[in-house]
Amino acid sequence: MTEKIKFVLNGKPVSLDVDGDRDLLWVLRTDLEITGVKFGCGEGLCGACTVLVNGEAMQSCQITVGDVAGAEVTTIEGLEKDGKLHPIQEAFMKHDALQCGFCTSGMILKAHSFLSRKPNPSRAEIGDALEDNLCRCGTHTRILDAVSEAAEVMKGGESS
């Protein structure tokens, strides 16, 4: 059933006439053309579709657009501010923590959510946090390097 759903997407208000039961993933990718959020498995098993809802990482194939009414939703497109990359994005580039890039936005957003709760994690804790995000290229060690470094860099209060 179509209803009006409002939320904030990457800092900007969005108002949609949409069936609130539709998966957030497809509303983002299709209706809003936010394609940095990826479809990988459709069942919450790979993490490629991860977005931030009020700062917390969620798999957008597992929640509906109705679920985010009134919330702040951040996708990978929303991390760059005025042409400046987020420290996690910078660290992924610096450590070459990506190959095909298809899991990358989910990894970065999951790390973002994790570091906001746990600013000084051990390497093992980072791995635990990212455990359900799958990467088939095998870039895992570099992703750990990147998130570790981002945590260091962000210590100075850089947590946006």
Binding site: E33, T35, F39, L85, Q89, F92, Q99, L134
Partner: protein
């Protein structure tokens, strides 16, 4: 090689051009001209192994130097994350003497790029790289000739540096490449191609470069096939059978038609729902009632092996020396073992996706393919239209590992094109994860039977090796063994009819895993009997110095200390030749005897790949390959019965995760003056072998089957 300066004024190209080049220039005219340098990858590989690849001798890639001095390389190869989008421009920049940043590469667009078979077998650098390098050298030579004419001095007097040619005695006498590329149509051969830059003078090659496309990938700007949007485009959800070989008996699409905005298309075997929203197309598809008759092939994930050894083509003798009967007579200890491995899925995180549009009779397909040109051919055949009217474009590809190339039919692309033609709309077909598993061209299940033996002195004197359905990769006779026979029956490339219940194809270093396991395990068993350290035992028998070098380098990095026979440390070892690179793996495993769970704690890969164009990229490939390799070694095995596949998502098909990570080290054995060899695959070939020999070293348990699941480990432990 020919050079042509043309097109900046959009004049039709010269009539002396062969037809395909003339056609080609017509389409590249839109680029705005510049100096074009054609080159061919040549037939070295094609003639040797894969005649079907049949590279044209005319040209199949080119460099363009634009009026602003920027360089573009066009190639029918693709990048699916392995980083050649970074390393190929390094080669061009080094030999053209331009800044790395001024070189860009356009890959996998069949209208812009000349023919290429595609990206397979770690060949982008080792096959395409040398041709690109020569082309860049010749282009540099041509530019110097043009500069000599312009500056009125001899070529010998000139130096090319940073996109400029100047007189070495009067540097102010100079001209930029950009200035040189304006002018008339030229076709020019050089009598002698200028020499390649010696490795000690490299400023770009052999240096680490970060992924060129990284910024696009960390910001979400990288556009993959599924990200392409057109106003009015439709998403297709396609009816899929429940099993391979299933026959449709009854179909009722009325439920789907009731969904608002849904259109049902039935075109022979193709039944699809189209909708402006992909999730609504999928919802409508579920309303279709379809009944099928499912085949009874009688095989499943356990019984397939007996079937496979019975269903074989004519044997191919890969290698033979001495006399097997004589070898059997000489052995003191004989080891007769059978190895098995299951079907493996590729599971790239991006599922197969295609976007198609038909405009004025021309079909354009954006595709996740590893082989854009072969796909163009199959589109032309399927749609029965002239190849000239088919264009395949390859945007960013979210992983492939062999699963997005031939013999995968890229069904989604054919479906999208058919639906686009029927409807006149732009159509996207994106595989669900279940489709991705179902239509995968799996790494085939395989069997290896080995009979080997050592004599009184502990020398291997017999090696009678038969591999079923994996092919002969990584079976090379790397050891000195007097009586040897290596036989291969069936492979992944041309599957034996009736052997497999579904499609099979290449999977990162196809077939090399099971062969690596069999060879390595067999050597550890023999070393144990000979009372020798498994490293020393291998070094004693290895023929090739470069392979010995790689093995020693890996062992040094791990801190290998010799131990006669089994040590209890859990140290595993493997070596071989893959994609022409010499590669060795050593590592350490931990076995939980109670649960049977195996953990890889450390792994080292040492490789002699000749010139490593981008050492950073090479390391990433090796690390990725070792990480991926833990999957085939420990968990990955497709479960099926008859034509029905039970693993349709990541809940039951388990791929490597962060918690599995060992400490990973890579050693690139410096060998800059040897030609560059493969790097994308060799890192994966020894992982299973290291784990199996590691388990043996730790516990004495002999694992002959992959994946080495806890149940199988416990079973093997019980026999110790």
């Amino acid at each position: 090689m020919k050079t042509t300066e043309s097109m900046h004024d959009n004049r039709p190209p010269g009539f002396s051009l062969p037809l395909d080049r003339r056609e080609f220039l017509k389409t590249v005219g839109v680029l705005g001209g510049g100096l074009f340098v054609y080159f061919t990858v040549g037939n070295r590989f094609a003639a040797a192994q894969m005649p079907s690849m049949n590279y044209p001798t005319d040209f199949n890639a080119y460099l363009r130097i634009a009026a602003d001095g920027s360089v573009t390389c066009f190639t029918g190869k693709i990048d699916m994350g392995q980083g050649t989008i970074t390393s190929l421009p390094q080669i061009a920049a080094e030999e053209l003497k331009v800044a790395y940043e001024s070189v860009s590469i356009i890959m996998g667009d069949t209208d812009l790029c000349p023919y290429d078979f595609g990206t397979v077998g770690s060949m982008n650098i080792r096959m395409f790289g040398p041709a690109l390098r020569k082309a860049a050298c010749e282009a540099r030579g041509v530019l110097k000739e043009l500069a000599a004419e312009k500056l009125g001095c001899s070529v010998d007097q000139l130096v090319a540096e940073n996109g400029t040619v100047f007189d070495k005695d009067r540097p102010e006498k100079k001209v930029t490449y950009g200035e040189l590329t304006r002018g008339k149509i030229i076709e020019r051969h050089l009598k002698e191609i200028p020499p390649e830059t010696p490795s000690e003078k490299f400023t770009i090659m052999g240096k680490p470069y970060l992924h060129q496309d990284a910024r696009d990938k960390v910001t979400g700007r990288a556009q993959y096939t599924g990200d392409i949007r057109f106003p009015g485009m439709l998403y297709a959800a396609v009816l899929r059978p429940p099993a391979h070989g299933a026959v449709l008996k009854r179909l009722d699409v009325s439920g789907a038609k009731k969904i608002e905005g849904a259109t049902v298309i039935q075109d022979d075997d193709l039944v699809a729902v189209l909708h402006a929203l992909p999730d609504q197309a999928a919802r409508a598809l579920k309303k279709i009632e379809a009944e099928y008759e499912e085949p009874q092939t009688g095989t499943d994930s356990e019984t397939i092996y007996d079937h496979l050894v019975k269903t074989v083509p004519e044997p191919n003798v890969v290698s033979q020396s001495g006399d097997i009967q004589e070898g059997r007579r000489l052995v003191k200890h004989i080891f007769e073992e059978t190895y098995r491995s299951g079907y493996l899925a590729h599971t790239p995180i991006e599922t197969h996706t295609a976007m198609a549009k038909v405009e004025n009779g021309k079909v354009t397909v954006w595709s996740t393919t590893q082989n854009p040109f072969p796909l163009k051919t199959s589109l032309s055949e399927t749609l029965k239209i002239d190849p000239e009217n088919v264009r395949v474009i390859t945007p960013f590809v979210g992983g492939g590992f062999g699963g997005k190339g031939a013999p995968n039919p890229n069904r989604e692309a054919l479906e999208a094109a058919r639906l686009a033609r029927i409807t006149g709309k732009q159509i996207q077909v994106c595989f669900s994860r279940a489709d991705e598993f179902f239509y995968d061209t799996f790494s085939p299940a395989a069997v290896v039977k080995v009979v080997s033996g050592i004599d009184e002195a502990g020398n291997v004197v017999l090696w009678d090796y038969t591999v079923y359905h994996a092919g002969d990769r990584n079976t090379d006779a790397i050891y000195n063994i007097p009586h040897l026979r290596i036989v291969s029956l069936g492979g992944w490339m041309r599957a034996t009819p009736g052997a497999h219940p579904f499609g099979v194809g290449p999977w990162r270093a196809p077939g090399a895993h099971i062969n690596g396991l069999a060879r390595s395990m067999q050597f550890n068993l023999m070393a144990e009997k000979a009372g020798m350290d498994p490293l020393a035992f291998r070094l004693k028998h290895l023929k090739d110095e470069r392979l010995k070098g790689a093995l020693k380098a890996a062992a040094d990095k791990l801190g290998w200390k010799p131990h006669a026979a089994r040590s209890g440390r859990g140290w595993g070892i493997a070596c071989g030749i893959d994609a022409n690179s010499y590669v060795a793996h050593v590592g350490e495993v931990e076995v939980d005897k109670g649960s049977g769970k195996v953990r890889l704690k450390r792994i080292v890969c040492a490789i002699d790949m000749g010139l490593s164009v981008n050492p950073q990229g090479s390391r990433i490939q090796l690390e990725g390959a070792m990480t991926m390799g833990m999957g085939y070694a420990l968990t990955e095995e497709l479960k099926f019965k008859n034509g029905k596949i039970f693993d349709l998502n990541f809940d039951s098909y388990s791929i490597p995760r962060f918690s599995w990570l060992p400490k990973i080290d890579t050693v690139i054995v410096p060998n800059m003056n040897q030609p560059a060899q493969g790097g994308g695959e060799p890192g994966i070939v020894g992982v299973g072998a290291v784990i199996a020999t590691g388990i043996y070293d730790a516990t004495g348990a002999k694992l002959f089957r992959m994946p080495m699941t806890p149940e199988r480990v416990k079973e093997a432990l019980a026999k110790v």
